[in-house]
């Protein structure tokens, strides 16, 4: 098998499939309101801003900044070895469009709040986990 670490995977449902499988096409997809254009995450069948049910799936740029992070130092799972950075990334599209993720391709002591990052996917069966690495160029 591959040298990939152990990952607990999400249960794929009609509501979250776009998010967890969009990486197959290299896209970080979210729900977005077809009326007021508000990005919705986690998925919900209604826009919390305008209550429209015209929900569309749309790819975000995949660029954002680290809003906060932690360096996990404890081994919670076999074959997922600490230390590794866990972060909440705020996407450029909308200040409150955020997700919990890992920061990759970056030394743990170089991770910092405000760091510009971009999405990169790790594939596990049909699931593509969106990770983020320091942004290259612009």
């Amino acid at each position: 098998m591959t040298g990939k670490p152990f990952r607990v995977l999400p249960c794929i449902t009609p509501e979250n499939r776009h998010f967890w499988t969009g990486g197959a096409d290299g896209e970080l997809r979210f729900m977005r309101c077809g009326d007021c254009r508000y990005w919705i995450h986690p998925p919900a069948p209604i826009c919390p801003e305008c209550l429209s049910k015209e929900i569309e799936i749309e790819a975000a740029s995949g660029r954002g900044v680290i809003h906060t992070y932690t360096i996990n130092r404890k081994e919670w799972y076999p074959n997922l070895h600490p230390p590794y950075p866990i972060a909440i990334v705020s996407l450029d599209e909308q200040e409150d469009l955020r997700l919990t993720t890992n920061i990759v391709d970056c030394a743990v002591d170089e991770v910092e709040i405000g760091m510009p990052v971009e999405v990169v996917f790790e594939e596990y069966d049909e699931v593509y986990l969106p990770m983020f690495r320091p942004r290259r160029g612009s």
């Binding site: 670490p5 152990f6 990952r7 607990v8 995977l9 999400p10 249960c11 979250n16 995450h41 986690p42 809003h67 906060t68 992070y69 932690t70 360096i71 996990n72 130092r73 404890k74 081994e75 919670w76 799972y77 076999p78 997922l80 590794y84 866990i86 972060a87 909440i88 409150d96 955020r98 997700l99 919990t100 993720t101 890992n102 709040i113 699931v127 986990l129 990770m131």
Partner: protein, 404 residues
């Protein structure tokens, strides 16, 4: 203005089982299993209130019987009701409530509404025995591998190796450090203060002295949180009896009155989607509490504030207005202000960090002991009259303002 009905409730009785690390007797013993511990706490609380079990008209608990995580909550209303053959007019248990003490707030409202005269509230944990010698890894969600798939809110964190509240709270603490310059040396005071107070509590799990050097030298769990920022799983049960205030004259112990409660959750109910990650749900619950009373933070003589992780206590101090938002670090710096003889004695029994993770109810139990003047060696001097008990971190928060 609406009447604040919680003022019709009193804490009339308190009780607690034996508390400790893995006090379970073994596979062929039922003593000190969850129901046995619960019964000990319940009967103690009923007796402490001067009542008989036939007087108990209701049970409220958090969170009710759950299979997982192991030991998190192995007893619900049903088991206790049946074991004691209680005839109930009201009962409630559940995970979706304003923190662990949301169950007590519910009981206050039920007695105020006349659903029952006396309601038994309890919280039983058995995490130390259930985790065995493997520690918290033993209960990591999905750690068994295989076909487990993450659902609900857990799907957003488990795939990224972030199964623990230590990770989630660690990120909040990191943001607070970043915005306000809060330091590990400041945060350490929550742990050091708890340990100092635990030395005066015979039931506390960790009582040996802890120094700043010990704190800064111990291993990190999830930056900026180290091992001593995390509470310690124990076995134990805590119970309180909530009665309608007109019963106060019949009680053998001084009645502790419920002056106000805080149960609000206005921000998004989420660990990572919360609007301002330097605050938690306690921001909303704390603000609500002060809207329901003429008392102010300056009137409070002692604070028993949840410390599942040390940073949660700091968040509660800010949320309850003992200091401004972002000022928690300087407020606790040096530790003298929150010491047993300071201006705001904090977590006087040792908190969950040193006395054990009784999961919210330990703070209420301690606040009542202190307000009654029954806290023994660790009694706050001067006859404290006003105390706060608060529980919950992240999107969970509930608090009570209590008066003697």
């Amino acid at each position: 203005m609406a009447e604040h009905l919680e003022k019709r409730a009193i804490v009339s009785g308190i009780g607690q089982s034996e508390v400790g690390r893995r006090i379970y007797g073994g596979d062929d013993r039922w003593e000190r299993m969850p129901l046995d511990l619960t019964i000990d706490a319940a009967l103690a609380a009923i007796a402490d209130a001067g009542l008989d079990r036939r007087d108990i008209g209701g049970i409220c608990t958090y969170p009710g019987n759950m299979d997982t995580p192991p030991g998190f909550s192995a007893v619900g209303v049903t088991e206790l009701q049946d074991a004691l053959r209680l005839e109930l007019d009201w009962f409630a248990g559940g995970l979706e409530s304003p923190g662990q003490l949301g169950s007590v707030i519910g009981a206050c409202l039920a007695v105020a509404a006349g659903l029952a005269d006396h309601i038994l509230c309890f919280r039983t944990v058995w995490e130390a025995s259930a985790q065995g010698d493997k520690g918290r890894e033993a209960v990591t969600m999905g750690g068994g591998g295989g076909s487990f798939k993450a659902r609900t809110f857990l799907q957003w964190s488990l795939p990224f190796g972030a199964p623990s509240a230590a990770n989630w709270i660690g990120m909040m603490a990191m943001r607070h450090f970043h915005e306000f310059g809060t330091t590990r040396e400041q945060l350490a005071q929550i742990a050091l203060n708890a340990r100092k107070n635990a030395a005066l509590n015979a039931k506390a799990v960790y009582r040996e002295p802890m120094t700043m050097e010990d704190y800064l030298g111990v291993r990190m769990i999830s930056d900026p949180l180290c091992l001593y920022d995390c509470d310690v799983p124990v076995d134990g049960s805590t119970a309180v009896v909530i009665s309608r205030a007109d019963h106060a004259p019949d009680m053998p112990n001084p009645a502790v009155h419920v002056e106000a409660v805080g149960s609000a959750l206005h921000g998004r109910p989420s660990w990572d989607q919360w609007d301002d990650l330097t605050t938690m749900a306690c921001r909303d619950a704390g603000a609500m509490l002060w809207e329901r009373t003429d008392l102010t933070p300056a009137d409070v003589d002692l604070a028993e504030l949840y410390d599942g992780f040390s940073f949660i206590t700091l968040a509660w101090l800010e949320a309850l207005g003992f200091c401004g938002h972002g000022e928690g670090g300087p407020f606790i710096e040096g530790g003298s202000r929150i010491a047993l003889d300071g201006e705001l004695p904090l977590n006087t029994h040792g908190g969950q960090l040193s006395a054990g993770r009784l999961h919210g109810y330990g703070f209420l139990h301690e606040a009542v002991l202190q307000l009654r003047g029954q806290a023994g060696e660790r009694q706050v001097a001067g006859g404290p009259e006003v105390g706060v008990a608060a529980a919950g971190g992240g999107p969970l928060a509930g608090c009570l303002l209590l008066t003697r």
